[in-house]
């Protein structure tokens, strides 16, 4: 079972490398956001897999927190790109 976990971890690492390549190479800022989004989701899965692989069960809590932070980070960056200002209200910045 450890070999299966290791193979899955390596597959997740490969996906993270590909997503990071797209995030660095991306022509527009939205390609970067797509890459970062995929990278963050795969990070959550990687932490959960490493928690099982190493037997350190507390890491699942880290994965749980990371899942929330990743979503908030993507939404915050999208709002920053769209409105150039995180504190802007919708009425003033909806141009």
């Amino acid at each position: 079972m450890a070999s299966v976990l290791l193979a899955t971890i390596l597959a997740i690492f490969t996906t993270m490398a590909l997503a990071l390549w797209r995030a660095i190479r991306g022509p527009s800022v939205f390609d970067t956001i797509v890459g970062v989004n995929v990278f963050g989701t795969k990070t959550v899965l990687l932490i959960a897999l490493i928690a099982y692989f190493s037997g350190n069960n507390d890491l699942v809590d880290v994965a749980l927190v990371y899942a929330l932070i990743n979503f908030l980070a993507v939404i915050a960056v999208l709002k920053l790109v769209r409105q150039r200002d995180l504190a802007a209200s919708r009425e003033h910045a909806d141009d």
Partner: protein
């Protein structure tokens, strides 16, 4: 008997999830457009956590760890399509045109969405 069966199902789910994740990564790198990359990334971001977390839950059985993993799965299943939708909507609002059928972007400057 039942443990080996659960182990086999769990291993199959883990490996299938890893394969889906790699396919999604290849799609994110190779597709020509923001929207097609978003399709590859977003769809496999939904199916790969389902399979991988499902496989891990099958391994641990009735345990607090399973509950936390199912909570992670619930958050991911809610937030990943939302983030994909927000990204596609922001890209469309920023005036990025989708690639058309003949493989070229539609001519003309992107609209400023005013």
């Amino acid at each position: 008997m039942i443990e080996t069966l659960i182990g086999i199902i769990s291993a199959a789910m883990l490996l299938t999830g890893g394969a889906f994740a790699v396919i999604g990564g290849i799609g994110v790198v190779r597709f020509p457009d923001v929207y097609t990359r978003l399709h590859a990334g977003g769809v496999t971001d939904t199916i790969a956590p389902l399979l991988i977390v499902g496989g891990l839950v099958l391994q641990s059985g009735w345990h607090l760890l399973s509950f936390k993993l199912l909570l992670i799965l619930l958050f991911l299943l809610f937030t990943t399509p939302t983030a994909s939708h927000a990204t596609a909507r922001a890209a469309m609002a920023a005036g990025i045109k989708p690639v058309t059928k003949d493989g070229h972007r539609r001519s003309g400057a992107p609209s400023s969405n005013t």
